[in-house]
Assembly symmetry: C2
Amino acid sequence: MELAAAKLKFIETWGKLGSEWGINRTMAQVHALLLISHEALTTEEIMETLSISRGNANMNLRDLIGWGLVEKQHKAGERKEYFFADKDVWNIARQVAKERKKRELEPVLKVLAELSTVKGDEKDPDFKTFNKSVTDINKLANNVDKTLETMLKAEENWFWGSVLKVFK
Amino acid sequence: MELAAAKLKFIETWGKLGSEWGINRTMAQVHALLLISHEALTTEEIMETLSISRGNANMNLRDLIGWGLVEKQHKAGERKEYFFADKDVWNIARQVAKERKKRELEPVLKVLAELSTVKGDEKDPDFKTFNKSVTDINKLANNVDKTLETMLKAEENWFWGSVLKVFK
DNA sequence: TTAAACTTTCAAAAATTATTGAAAATATAT
DNA sequence: ATATATTTTCAATAATTTTTGAAAGTTTAA
């Protein structure tokens, strides 16, 4: 495959994966484009490459900055802004994990903790089932949360080196 | 909080979480409803409780069965079908991991493997960046894949017991 | 059989989410 | 200050996804 075709394929694949996981397809595509660009790009270049509008490019770039995946750069003597993506895949994974934990997991954890305290008739099979499911999900969610917490604190080479051994 | 209110809150929260992670909100709500029901429910009961149409209920129930999270049951002397959800949270987690791995991760792995083989000019910084990002993401995706594979084979009490120790 | 009970399908409608593009806002140079 | 370059906003529009509901299909009982 030619490099040009491969780049398009990568952008398309990354966008599709994003949309399957609840991330705006265009945001994932912009991220993909920046990931394979050795230099920072302008909004114009992104708009053109992905055939998207200025507003769309701007919004998704801001979101990517909000996710900690992209940063603005300025070039000396130039007025326009350039955008550059961190290429360290471990940083990216950590950043995504951190944000999703904060945005989506933690609010759920709060609700589950509250629902775990609901009292009811221990003889009522409906209460018992509710209680067991909520309690178990709460435990699992807390495990996931703590595991992510540990991951966020972990060293980079922990991940690349020892995940598999650890699980065997 | 009253049990009835708690049930609604659970269904709502589960639905929201699902939609944030690319899973149809109604499907997640049907699953939530079945998770907290001690007995199997009919399509009618699900339609009524969640205020959804017959077609919608039917489709999402079929999808849940396709995800391996719900099964049909028949009661002696009754003609209609009943639906029942596995309440074992570890099974649920495994099942979801298994399906998403198959549906979403594996196709991406294939593309990444292909893109990793693209040849180019080692002097071209654009090629170098493409190659590094794709190669690194490919490695990470393979690590995730193998980790999930291990998780799928693992014993139930491995999860509940030792995840945290393992990560420390 | 045939009719009633029940399930599935799917085109159309509704709801949701994403995108556009032009106007407003902001920043910079002269 | 004023003009120019650039970024941001956001109401309107478009695209996508979900839901509806009635018709078609299937199963079972008599």
